[in-house]
Amino acid sequence: MRRPLPRALAWIVAGVFLLLHLPVVVLVAYSFNAARYSAAWSGFTLHWYAALLERPDILRALRLSLVVASTSTLLATVLGTLVAMALARARFRGSRLIEGGLYLPIVTPEIVAGISLLILFAAVQVPLGVGTVIVAHTAFCLPFVAVVVLARLRGMDRTLEEAALVLGADELTAFRRVTLPQLAPGILAGALLAFTLSLDDFVITFFVAGPGATTLPVLVYSMVRRGVEPTINAVSTLLVVLTTLAVGVAARVDGARRA
């Protein structure tokens, strides 16, 4: 696999990378385009970002998205990590079934998950709102966290923990000083995945949010449905920057910890 690529193949690869990134790059560029309707470039402007500041609904939706994402990330990370620990530590009746079952929510179409939650909430007459959104987000993030943490646990060197116990550490100390630091990158990766999944989710949120709990993706969706306008480019750019920042910070934390 060490010789240079055939030229034709190299062009295909370059083309695919272009396809993969050009749309978002164009979108970001157009958030600085002065033209309102046309796609022709008519000069650089920050007008659309300034316009965002005069839209209290966008700021509200952004704040709500962050609240929902952090709350459900916290819940899903704690619950998912516990599930992963239980599955990694013991083979017991039903453990394989449970592990397989964790993939069920992951492969279920979002539209089905969203609709079924909606009719459950309707059937037991729970009013839709921020609470139902957080409950739903925690539910779909939890299996992802569990799977990621479980993979880390399986690949982890358990002898260190056993050594700590043999050397006289009590279980809490061994967990806190040996197991947890070893597991931390897995938990962080799971939490980050949960955070971006929650921040990004449109489909499930759309069905369980109700009129009072408009997250940023739900708001962007309704703006897109009303028609393309430059402010959407600006909000979208902010959303891209936000998730990139989250990933960057996580990579930084992980890198600093490893160094």
Binding site: L22, V26, A86, F92, V112, A113, I119, Y221, V224
Partner: protein, 292 residues
């Protein structure tokens, strides 16, 4: 104090099954209440009578499943299947060369991988919207074509099945590239040298050695693209028109404007059924490969 602490935290370190259940219960309960129970309710609704103003009325019936034989709905089922299949094939054709190139990219490997992973962290909604910006009548592509003098009037690119297909391929391509890359990267270089020493070069070496060894990645990638494509809702909703409705949109339509909840539930389960068939086929293929 130590005793209590030991009792509460013991399960985190020790192994017994009793402790495992203590750790499992909160998470499993959450999934049971907010994933499994809703699906059960949905299943129940799919065999009940239709309520007059939405909702359901008591009484068992299978009529909602029988409605699939109606040509209108049958055509949506077929469209969903072929769009999902076409998405998978296109992703494979575009993704395999990329995975192959990354696997042999040497010092550029990390950077190229980063470029493949980056879209994962970009909002799917934003990426779908970006396609609208490109494809709409006064969008970037049409403006470019007109400026180059290639078209006199804007092409109707948006709100077509083609636009849906483009959006899905664009959305799910990384899911195809990463598993193929993973399986190519694991190939033992000695095997390639051996193939070469034995006279297999270029195409023959690729066809007889590299391709078979990368098939598990191809199978995994195909599944990771096919399943979400089957359940697609947002992409056909924003990029498609009336003639590109998929099963996901039919579900939403039945719970929304059509107000036929039982039929919507039946469609949901048909969708789940197709997803499970795809999963089973994949498991079969994987097991056969492992035995081989």
């Amino acid at each position: 104090m130590t005793g209590l602490r030991r009792r509460l935290l013991g399960p985190l370190v020790r192994r017994p099954a009793a402790g495992s259940w203590a750790l499992l219960t909160p998470g499993l309960l959450w999934l049971l209440l907010f994933f499994a129970v809703p699906l059960a309710v949905l299943l129940g609704y799919s065999v009940m009578q239709r309520g007059t103003y939405g909702g359901v009325a008591p009484g068992f019936t299978l009529e909602h499943y029988r409605r699939f034989s109606d040509p209108i709905y049958l055509s949506i089922v077929w469209r969903t299947l072929w769009i999902a299949l076409a998405t998978t094939v296109l992703c494979l054709l575009l993704g395999y060369p990329v995975a192959y190139a990354i696997a042999r990219a040497g010092r550029w490997r990390a950077a190229l991988l980063f470029l493949v992973i980056l879209p994962f962290w970009t909002s799917f909604l934003v990426r779908t919207y970006a396609m609208i910006v490109l494809l709409r009548g006064s969008g970037v592509v049409n403006t470019l074509l007109a400026a180059l003098g290639l078209t006199a009037t804007p092409l109707e690119l948006l709100y077509t099945p083609g636009a849906v297909l483009a959006g899905l391929v664009y959305g799910y391509l990384p899911f195809m590239i990463l598993p193929i890359y993973a399986s190519l990267e694991r190939i033992d270089l000695d095997l390639l040298d051996a193939a070469e020493a034995l006279g297999a070069r270029g195409p023959a070496r690729f066809r007889r050695v590299i391709l078979p060894l990368s098939l598990p990645g191809v199978a995994a990638g195909s599944l990771l693209v096919f399943i979400p494509a089957l359940g697609a809702f947002l992409t056909p909703d924003l990029l498609g028109g009336a003639k590109s409705m998929m099963l996901g949109n039919l579900v939403q339509n039945q719970f929304g404007p059509a107000r036929n909840w039982p039929f919507g539930s039946a469609v949901s389960f048909a969708l789940m059924g197709v997803v499970f068939v795809a999963l089973l086929v994949w498991l079969r293929v994987r097991d056969a490969e492992e035995r081989a």
